[in-house]
């Protein structure tokens, strides 16, 4: 036998056949098919036992449920945030910020894991230990206190009613500093309006039971109070074949609320309050108002000063207001009559579209309108919330000797971050040496972001207590990691506009990132480190203990923590109690008058004092619900357009940052071309300015500017430019950072007449084309 080509071929054929007779080929094909399906860098989440834990998102007020999974190897982790169907207000619904909360929780690239010390010169951050960090802050504060400069330390927080907020106040007060300030919110404006007119600081709107709702420029469906609760009410208003309630939206833009409303009354920006007053006058003239209001204090003239009715008759002419507001008078009259006729009608005021706290006199006007409708204390009307049964964290502390930075020139003031920053930067009456930023990311959220940026830059020692490496942390000398609300303790109080009081408690559901501590625990540790009055003012082991003490009246703490909320059962219907000096509803606020007169005398002095507080109407109008032209109108020819925000739950509402998922669902009318903010303008206005869709424009106010891409939207009021909120972060990872620009950087904050609250609803701007 020769071993030649033919033999070899036979052998080879045999071998090939043999291989095919073995499982090699099909097996290899099969394995290859499987192999092609493996992409090793695609994560494989671990399975495990599922559990749900109830909690409340303190940023949105939503009753949430964390879906937890207990993996055999990886342990307990949260995989989703869902709605809590048992929560009386949000009943299972969520907003995007809730549903995507895990993206802020689980991201090593944006969370602060350990205390960090920043070198101001180089900007380099170095990790330090907690004791070192506490020594640094404690030492700094102690030194100031020792030198009698405690007042030159200030702390900024987000929510004064939260336990952490209370702790912050007590700590600073014990230290001897009057400077604690919080984010201004419409809750304060509402509290003032309520106090002045009814003596009740906690007023809410019984939206769910109303069947005729008139909303005065407040974004009911884009972020109002607890957004889910409002939506639940809204859902009840809709129906087939006819809607269950009639919603009227008065605002300059065809927003979601305006579109979903049964009627949209497009008005000039800032004229909403005037429209409310015009409605009052129409109701009076047509005789369709609740006669009980005639017994209110200030219905008629008092003490030789104008009463509400006289004011309306003198200054609010329906035709004039209609033309001033740019609305059709017959439509307005028709709507007013329908409002008056409806059995459960309510007029709603609230935060502006730009997220500002609202104008005091507008709120008062809307309250007056409700009073005329006679819905105070009625189902579907304006109701007073039961105060939350929360205990104080301790006895009263001595008042600091120095006057506070902000608001000392006003008869009453709400300590807010903006005024504090303005005063501190001006050095009037003194400057700051130490600044503690407790959450809130003020450098981004402002309200006037440029100002907060300057404050952080110019204050010698800045401490940021934050879960994230955000814009504020980036400017701080010392960054102290705090917990995300899913991994730490904390609480939240009744949201704006809610008809019932509602307390939310969140507890640690998953293990906190590295060395993060609850912000409250950090404050307690600081108090311990400082010792003396500070330690005495906050005698708690930890935040949980403080929470337990504070919420004692709500029952067993452990149970409360598991339920996650406490809520007033039903709105307080029935005759509203008026805790006013007159014991009646006050259309002319005696409280306000007394407060103002305390500083000034009567007559001429009073008028002067009132005008000094920014009330253009003088003493005759100052104590009445009345309308004043917004400051943005007076910006002059250099800023001919009016800028307002176009809010959306897809961007943000409140102090928490936008999440990657929220960025992802932004339409291209908000964010376009990877990183361009998009602003809206009416096509006619754009034509007048020789601008076209897609142009890059510079929107400039006297306080700052932003560049953006222009989109034309027929639903935008002429003469205005609408800017999305909450974009333009420099932090929060590649999915969020460097997208768009920050609305708060172009905003000009002004002082609300009388209340002095910072307002920024409208800003005078110029818009011109730029290259880009």
């Amino acid at each position: 036998m020769d071993w030649d080509r033919r033999t070899f071929v036979k052998f080879a054929v045999g071998a090939v056949l043999g291989v095919h007779a073995s499982p090699l080929i099909p097996k290899f094909m099969d394995d290859t098919a499987i192999w092609t399906q493996n992409w090793n860098w695609v994560p494989v989440p671990e399975d495990g036992a599922v559990a749900y834990a109830k909690t409340v998102n303190p940023h949105t007020g939503t009753g949430a449920m964390a879906k937890l999974i207990d993996g055999r190897v990886e342990g307990l982790r949260a995989i989703r945030v869902e709605g809590n169907p048992d929560h009386p207000l949000s009943r299972g619904g969520v907003v995007p910020a809730d549903a995507s909360a895990l993206q802020l929780l689980y991201n090593n690239e944006t969370r602060v894991a350990k205390p960090l010390l920043r070198n101001r010169a180089t900007g380099v951050m170095t990790q330090i230990t907690w004791p070192q960090a506490l020594d640094l802050v404690g030492g700094n504060l102690a030194e100031l206190a020792q030198k009698g400069q405690a007042h030159q330390a200030a702390a900024l927080g987000t929510d004064p009613s939260s336990t952490t907020g209370q702790m912050l106040m007590r700590l600073m007060q014990a230290l001897g500093s009057p400077n604690v300030a919080f984010t201004p919110t419409p809750r304060e404006t509402m509290a003032l309006a309520g106090l002045f007119m009814t003596g009740q600081p906690f007023l809410g709107f019984d939206l769910a039971n109303a069947n005729f709702i008139v909303s005065f420029g407040t974004p009911l469906l884009e972020g109002f109070g607890a957004p889910v609760a409002v939506r639940k009410a809204f859902a009840g208003w809709r129906g087939y074949p006819k809607n269950q309630a009639y919603l009227v939206q008065i605002e300059p833009r065809a927003s979601v609320t305006a579109s979903q409303a049964d009627q949209w009354i497009a008005c000039k920006p800032g004229s909403e309050g005037a429209v409310a007053l015009a409605m009052c006058r129409i109701m009076i003239e047509e005789g369709v108002y609740d006669r009980a209001v005639e017994s209110a204090y200030g219905w008629n003239d008092v003490d030789g000063m104008m009463g509400f009715k006289s004011y309306l008759m003198k200054s609010i002419d329906r035709a004039k207001v209609a033309s001033l507001a740019g609305v059709s008078l017959p439509k307005l009259v028709k709507m007013t009559l329908a409002f008056a006729k409806a059995d459960r009608a309510v007029a709603v005021c609230g935060p502006g579209n730009s997220g500002d706290p609202g104008r005091l006199y507008d709120f008062m006007s809307v309250l007056a309108l409700n009073a005329l409708k006679g819905n105070l204390g009625k189902p579907g009307g304006v109701v007073a919330q039961q105060p939350l049964p929360l205990k104080s964290l301790g006895g009263a502390l001595p008042e600091p000797k120095q006057p506070p930075l902000a608001g000392s020139d006003r008869p009453f003031s709400v300590n807010n971050v903006h005024d504090l920053a303005e005063a501190a930067l001006a050095g009037k009456p003194y400057g700051l040496k130490t600044l503690i930023l407790c959450g809130g990311n003020f450098v981004f959220n402002g309200p006037q972001a440029n100002l907060m940026h300057d404050l952080a830059r110019k204050t010698p020692f800045v401490v940021a207590i934050t879960p994230y490496m955000d814009e504020s942390a980036a400017m701080a000398d010392l960054v102290l990691p705090s917990t995300h609300w899913l991994e730490g303790w904390g609480d939240s109080t009744t949201s704006f506009g809610s008809p019932v009081a509602c307390y939310g408690l969140h507890r640690p559901l998953v293990k906190a990132v590295a060395e993060a501590k609850d912000a409250g625990d950090t404050l307690l540790a600081l108090a311990q480190r400082l010792g003396g009055p500070a330690a005495a003012a906050l005698p708690y082991k930890n935040l949980a203990e403080a929470l337990a003490k504070r919420s004692q009246a709500m029952g067993d703490f452990k149970k409360l923590a598991e339920t996650s909320y406490w809520a007033q059962k039903r709105p307080a219907y029935g005759q509203m109690r008026f805790n006013t000096p007159s014991g009646r509803l006050e259309l002319f606020s005696r409280t306000l008058r007394q407060l103002v007169s305390k500083g000034a005398g009567g007559g001429q002095d009073l008028d002067k004092a009132v005008r000094a507080l920014g009330v253009k109407g003088g003493a005759q109008a100052a104590f009445l619900p009345h309308w004043e032209e917004p400051a943005a109108y007076a910006e002059g020819a250099a800023y001919p357009l009016i800028m307002q925000a176009a809010p959306s739950l897809r961007t943000t509402w409140g102090d928490e940052a936008i999440t990657p998922y929220m960025v992802k669902i932004l339409p291209d009318t908000v964010l376009a071309n990877a990183d361009k903010l998009v602003v809206e303008m009416n096509p006619a206005t754009a034509r007048d300015l020789h601008l076209y869709a897609g142009d890059m424009v510079l929107v400039e106010s006297s306080a700052g500017s932003l560049t953006a891409k222009l989109t034309l939207y027929a639903g935008a009021a002429p003469g205005m430019v609408f800017v999305p909120l909450g974009l333009g972060h420099q932090a929060f990872g590649f999915q969020v950072a460097k997208k768009g620009m920050n609305f708060n950087r172009a905003v000009k904050v002004t002082s609300d007449p009388m209340s002095g609250m910072p307002i920024w609803e409208l800003t005078g701007v110029s818009v011109k084309k730029v290259r880009g």
Binding site: M29, A33, T36, Q37
Partner: protein
């Protein structure tokens, strides 16, 4: 003293490989010109690497333009390559032996088109390593499955059909086994021609069917005849109308470049006539189909023809496709005087080929560009350089194969005779 490169011309002398009775350019000239396809291939290589390594984000395709220039080129070259099966069909099965002188060229062009198309399809899919799932886990209801099966098998058939030409190379043919094999192959070629015809008929049709079955895409959807949508037949018809034209055109271009006569003008005229008649039939059907679609089908879906053509894909496309590149070449090709003129014949065939390419472009891109939901936006699409790079594969590897084949294989049996001095 002998220098090292003195022997080079001897080594490079490849004249013994040239087909019998032909002359070819000098090796260095040939090598120089090889640079062109190699450059294109390098461009392709870079683009393909980027696409395979980084993913399809290197292209400008998106969820609205799920198909892009690659599919257009694929469809176009497969249609243009139809000359292979149809010429083989006429030659081997119908017995039109007059076409013999051009069959080899047709098969070669078909081979180039099909292999190019398959390679591109492999890059076009998001998971190239799973490309074979179309066979492994085939869905028999999908037109694309049919296309995949037929194209692949037909490419194999084309290899077999091309094999005799390779084996007939002067040097290879001298190996006795190869010679015998080649001879045997020639005798059974009719079987492969039949198989090729069958396969081609189906995949040409299925390519059209791919669009015609998209019943939720009003631009592409067409009524059915049996289980096949009208586009099935229209695609077959347009392919066999354009294929012979393209084959002849390539031959004519080669003639111009090489300065040699490769086939007699009679053959070309015959090819032109065949193309012309087929194109005429196709144009009649296509026109009827278009009218039906525009005036009966679309209105039934609440749409108007006007909506179908929006800038930049305006109504000029219809006029171009049906008029300038449709009826015009049909009439030209059917005019004997046009066929007799070398230049005019070329022009008519060129118009014909552009027409079929345009048709494939319209079906691929415009079908997708048209938003079906009334509130959707209208998008347009422009390929990236990477996409052009991959798309240029057909050109690059086509040139390369054609140059090599022309130089070494007896593709044109009439060449020696026509170029006798």
């Amino acid at each position: 003293m002998r220098r090292w490169f003195d022997d080079l011309p001897k080594y490079a002398d490849d004249s013994s490989w040239w087909p019998n009775g032909t002359t070819r350019c000098r090796p260095e000239v040939f090598l120089f010109w090889l640079g062109l396809p190699l450059t294109i291939m390098a461009y392709f290589g870079l683009s393909a690497f980027l696409v395979l390594f980084k993913g399809l984000n290197q292209t400008n395709m998106n969820d609205y333009f799920a198909f892009g220039v690659w599919i257009v080129v694929d469809l176009a070259v497969i249609a243009l390559g139809a000359g292979a099966f149809f010429t083989s069909f006429l030659n081997y099965i119908i017995g039109k032996t007059e076409l013999k002188p051009i069959v080899n060229a047709a098969v070669l062009i078909g081979f180039i088109c099909y292999t190019g198309a398959i390679l591109m399809l492999g890059i076009d899919i998001g998971q190239p390593i799973r490309g074979w799932f179309g066979f492994w886990h085939a869905n028999v209801h999908s037109m694309l499955t049919e296309v995949m099966f037929c194209i692949t098998t037909y490419a194999i058939v084309l290899c077999i059909e091309l094999l005799p030409s390779v084996l007939d190379n002067r040097r290879i043919g001298k190996v006795p086994e190869f010679g015998t094999f080649s001879h045997n192959l020639h005798t059974i070629m009719i079987v492969f021609a039949a198989a090729g015809t069958f396969l081609s008929f189906f995949h040409q049709g299925s390519l059209g069917g791919m669009f015609g079955v998209l019943y939720a895409r009003p631009f592409a959807y067409r009524g059915h005849l049996g289980i096949w949508p009208m586009t099935f037949f229209l695609f077959v018809m347009s392919a066999i109308a354009a294929g012979p034209s393209f084959t002849t055109m390539v031959v004519m271009i080669t003639e111009k470049i090489t300065g040699k006569r490769l086939t007699s003008h009679k053959v070309k005229m015959l090819m032109g006539k065949i193309s012309g008649w087929l194109l005429l039939v196709y144009m009649v059907c296509k026109s009827v189909d278009t009218l039906y679609w525009a005036f009966i089908y679309l209105p039934s879906k609440g749409l108007s023809v006007g909506q179908m053509y929006q800038a930049p894909y305006g109504s000029w496309l219809v006029w171009a496709e049906l008029g300038l590149f449709g009826w015009l070449p049909a009439i030209l090709l059917l005019t004997p005087r046009v066929r007799e003129s070398y230049g005019l014949l070329f022009l008519a065939m060129l118009l014909n080929c552009i027409g079929v390419t345009l048709n494939r472009f319209i079906f691929t891109i415009q079908s997708l560009a048209l938003p079906v939901m009334p509130f959707e936006k209208f998008f347009s699409y422009l390929p990236t350089w990477q996409e052009w790079g991959v798309a240029s594969l057909v050109l690059g590897h086509g040139l390369l194969i054609f140059m090599l084949a022309y130089r070494y294989l007896p593709i044109f049996p009439q060449e020696p005779e026509l170029n006798q001095r």
